[in-house]
Symmetry: C2
Subunit: 222 residues, 2 copies
């Protein structure tokens, strides 16, 4: 087990926890105090860690998506559904159901674009909840960004599916779906912040007094 920890770069305590939680298959016992773990164990261990520590999935969500990878006869679109919903559980907006009028607003957008989407798609309720909140607090100006957000979502979704299509077999396709679903939101959040700073600088020229890294000053705020 210490070799497994060393080869994967995952601390022993985490390895034990993941084994106990059945996120990692048991190794082959070769003697009373010796268990063999294969390269597949090392790979799986890294994926588990990526899902939980970088993607923010709960243990039970990680277990659900890994079982999708391991279930050989699960159709790909079904695996997509499992991954989408697992990666949606850590989104606070998904906790409270959205109201009918915000859902209708999302459905109108979907219809206008001729998208083919089922009612149970988890993104529908999440988007509706944000729109509902924007309206409630008088930020209709942010709802106006909906078409641009939808354009961006298509670019992202096309890239996501293209990545999946480039994988050689079903198991690795599902693994790409599962990992990309959980970590893709985060990658996009990061790039959004980078692009915002660039565009903000061209729209609102920075006065010399503001040429200071906010990280150094936040704690001094009232």
């Amino acid at each position: 087990m210490s070799e497994l920890s060393e080869r994967s770069g995952v601390p022993i305590a985490s390895v034990k926890f993941y084994l106990r939680e059945r996120l990692l298959p048991s190794g082959t016992k070769t003697s009373a105090n010796q268990t063999n773990y294969s390269d597949a164990h090392v790979d799986r261990l890294r994926v588990v860690r990526a899902l939980i520590e970088v993607g923010g999935l709960s243990v039970s969500s990680a277990r659900a998506v890994l079982s999708a990878v391991d279930t050989e006869d699960m159709p790909l679109d079904w695996a997509f559904g499992v991954a989408q919903r697992a990666a949606s559980k850590s989104i606070p907006a998904a906790e409270v159901p959205a109201g009918a009028s915000a859902l209708a607003e999302v459905d109108r957008l979907v219809d206008e674009r001729g998208w083919n989407v089922t009612e149970g798609n988890p993104g529908r309720a999440i988007a509706a909840r944000v729109i509902e909140t924007y309206r409630l607090i008088g930020q209709d100006v942010l709802v106006d960004s909906l078409p641009a957000y939808a354009d961006a979502a298509v670019i992202i979704a096309e890239a996501d599916l293209a990545a999946v299509a480039r994988r050689p077999d079903r198991a690795s396709m599902v693994e790409t779906v599962v990992v990309g679903e959980s970590l893709g939101d985060t990658l996009l959040a990061g790039l959004r912040r980078i692009a915002q700073e660039h565009i903000s600088r061209s729209l609102f020229p920075v006065p010399p007094s503001a040429l200071v890294d906010p990280t150094e000053c936040e704690d001094e705020l009232p």
Copy 2:
């Protein structure tokens, strides 16, 4: 206080908590057991709730961004920095620093696009951490989506800044920055899932056996 709870739709226990945590200014005491709250209190209460319950901000992050709204002489780009970092704290990928080679990969992308971005931009470390993880687990195919993700990020950032620019004064501009930063990631995550289903259906035609809502079946998985 019960009137405040009623008018805002926020439960009394939450109102008390937000007052105690100084996320909401105290009302005006008019007698021993009567305090007056204005419309501004109702509005602020709704914003607090949106940030925490929909945007997933911690109490201390919500306090930081609200103090940005209330600090009249804070330059707008500084407020953007505060909002960006507050809305990044709930992202697990931001917890562990990214390695130098992944940061260099992000910087290369920024340079290629001629973006003007400071080293302290929180999105830089977040994007680098995801890229690093993709590489570690052999999902280089997902790193190939980086240009598409960057294109999408620009569309989003332009819409975000345009929304801010349409607000009439500094305080409401900062409020749009703060709310849009925290909830925009979530809106995009929702629309991404919707677009994925649509595009997945055109790329991978669904076999009749899979025409079933995965929500109804997940619990039956092994």
